[in-house]
């Protein structure tokens, strides 16, 4: 059975039945591998990402900047509320009681 490379070299690209399952499976595996690389690449190259962020935000016009700021402000509020945690020394039953008394 001819390989795809041999067929290409001999110019018989069309109308040739070839066994390609292995090649194709290999290529499918690479797609999955590549997908993982794309995802991990975001945090791996941090400096590059920071530059990309700066250049993108600088490029925004006033209207876009306005929309961006509203979203960023909400994100910051969200992050600050998530980072705060209830002090461990404060007993849970007190919180419950306080909530009840607060209506």
């Amino acid at each position: 059975m001819a390989t795809r490379q041999q067929i290409k070299e001999s110019g018989m690209v069309n109308l040739v039945t070839i066994q390609l399952e292995e090649v194709i499976q290999g290529e499918v595996d690479k797609v999955h591998l590549r997908k993982r690389m794309i995802k991990s690449g975001v945090s791996a190259n941090l400096d590059l990402e920071k530059d990309k962020w700066r250049s993108l935000v600088v490029m925004l016009n006033m209207e876009e900047q306005g929309a961006h700021n509203i979203i960023e402000e909400t994100l910051q509020k969200e992050l600050s509320s998530e980072n705060k945690s209830i002090p461990l020394s404060f007993p849970k039953k007190c919180i419950k009681r306080a909530r009840l008394s607060n209506g």
Binding site: V13, V42, I71
Partner: protein
């Protein structure tokens, strides 16, 4: 007093940030996609944890790959059956797992190309997100989207949802039931609105002015005269030569499928004659999953009678040729920019190992099985490199769909394999949404069934 204020402070710690319902509107080329990219980068810039708070979705495959997200249906695990009553109770545990997997830890969602989202889908999505948010203890079921911050982007002057313009989010019809009132009310929550008015793509000042006027229905007679200059008829001032560049390869956009198919077949025939290439006619491969792959004559006859929609949207017959313009018709890998609507060129056809090609009329070759792979080069960017293939080339394998047919009261589960590709010399107006095309011919006749706008 101190005690009370301290308690209040502690209680406020757990309070949620006010939910953001935001709408970013702007015509094509106003910078919506760029803004989404900037917002995505901002989330990643804060820290790696905040990047995970954001989900990116779009209503169409091409729009999804433009922003690097997922389709709305895929992210929210939406099915057609969601439109029936008690759909939430009927949803399988497997689908609910998918909801949790996709939405866990998400606090923000951006939905692009919102004009094509319909009210039912939007409402179902709100219910699903609410369910997951409530499970995570981050929101409640009675708030739209369960407290998640939602940003919708688009242009309501662009295409409405397929087949049903009145299901557009802003349309208040039908208003005859509490369900329809509820569906309308979700859109009405979006009170933070930003309009992007600066055009970044169109440089022609006259045309830019016409586009601006079209947006607010303020076109003057001189604008209309300028538009009429583009209409081809016997009184046209400019004579266009369609046999020479750049019009030789112009794409036809039109609302009728049947005419698109005829145009495509003729265009491929012309292409094959000019380039001395073969035209391959590939049949779909159907196998009976309930009978070890063997397809009885009765089942085969039933499949032949079924419509493409019943069979899972793959074509029963696909035409391919080397160097042919083609369009992907399924969301294969949106993160790799191979989505429903991606256009490109076929560079190689690799036949199935079992194939014994049969010569048809002229230069056509009839194939019994779909090709094992097609080497395809998308027109836009392609962020995946395959070994053995040049940059920008991707292998497209036959896609698999399953559907069922009933013969003599017995249900058969059929597996169908076919290339999810279609010729791209002509396509419908809905498929043209979010495409960038240099030269185009547009059929401006009345769409076959109804108008595009709900008003």
């Amino acid at each position: 007093m101190y005690q009370k204020s301290k308690t209040q402070q502690w209680l406020n710690i757990g309070e949620k940030t006010q939910q953001l319902y935001m709408m970013i509107l702007g015509s094509g080329g106003a910078g919506k996609s760029m803004l989404i990219s900037a917002v995505t980068e901002t989330f990643a810039h804060h820290d790696s944890a905040s990047a995970k708070l954001l989900a990116l979705c779009a209503t169409t495959g091409v729009a999804t790959s433009n922003i690097g997200g997922r389709t709305l249906h895929s992210w929210a695990g939406l099915r057609q059956s969601a439109q029936s009553s008690k759909w939430m109770e009927k949803t399988s545990e497997q689908t609910k797992k998918k909801w949790r997997k996709n939405m866990k830890g998400k606090n923000f969602v951006i939905i692009n190309k919102i004009s094509m989202a319909n009210k039912v889908v939007f409402w179902c999505m709100s219910e699903i997100v609410g369910e997951v948010q409530a499970e995570e203890g981050k929101g409640d079921l009675h708030t739209p989207f369960g407290g998640m911050h939602v940003i919708i982007c688009g242009d309501f002057h662009q295409f409405p949802p397929v087949r049903n313009p009145t299901s557009m989010l802003y349309c208040e019809r039908p208003n005859n039931s509490w369900e329809s009132a509820l569906r309308c009310s979700i859109y009405q929550q979006f009170k933070t609105v930003v309009m992007l008015t600066k055009q970044l793509q169109v440089k022609d000042k006259v045309w830019l002015n016409i586009l601006d006027c079209l947006w607010i229905r303020a076109c003057t007679e001189s604008d209309l005269q300028e538009i009429r200059k583009l209409i081809l008829n016997n009184q046209s001032e400019v004579v266009t030569n369609f046999t020479k560049d750049p019009w030789k390869d112009a794409i036809l956009i039109m609302p009728r499928h049947a005419i698109c198919d005829q145009w495509n077949t003729e265009a491929i025939r012309k292409h094959c004659l000019a380039t001395e290439q073969h035209m391959y006619i590939c049949s779909a491969e159907d196998t009976d999953r309930t009978n070890d792959g063997e397809l009885s004559a009765e089942v085969g006859f039933e499949i032949a009678q079924s419509t493409e929609k019943q069979m899972g949207s793959l074509h029963d017959r696909t035409i391919v040729a080397i160097r042919m313009k083609a369009m992907v018709v399924l969301n294969m890998a949106t993160e790799a920019d191979i989505a429903n609507g991606t256009c490109g060129t076929i560079y190689d056809i690799i036949l199935d190992p079992r194939e014994v090609p049969r010569q048809g009329e002229d230069s056509t070759i009839i194939l019994k099985y779909p090709p094992a792979a097609i080497i395809f080069k998308p027109n836009g960017k392609c962020n995946i490199q395959f070994n053995g293939l040049n940059t920008g080339f991707v292998p497209i394998l036959p896609s698999k769909m399953t559907f069922s047919v009933t013969v003599r009261n017995k249900m058969y589960s059929i597996s169908q394999q076919q290339l999810a590709l279609t010729p791209a010399y002509a396509f419908t107006d809905f498929k043209a949404q979010a495409q960038t095309i240099e030269y185009v011919m547009i059929d401006i006749g009345q769409p076959p069934s109804r108008s595009l706008s709900p008003s």
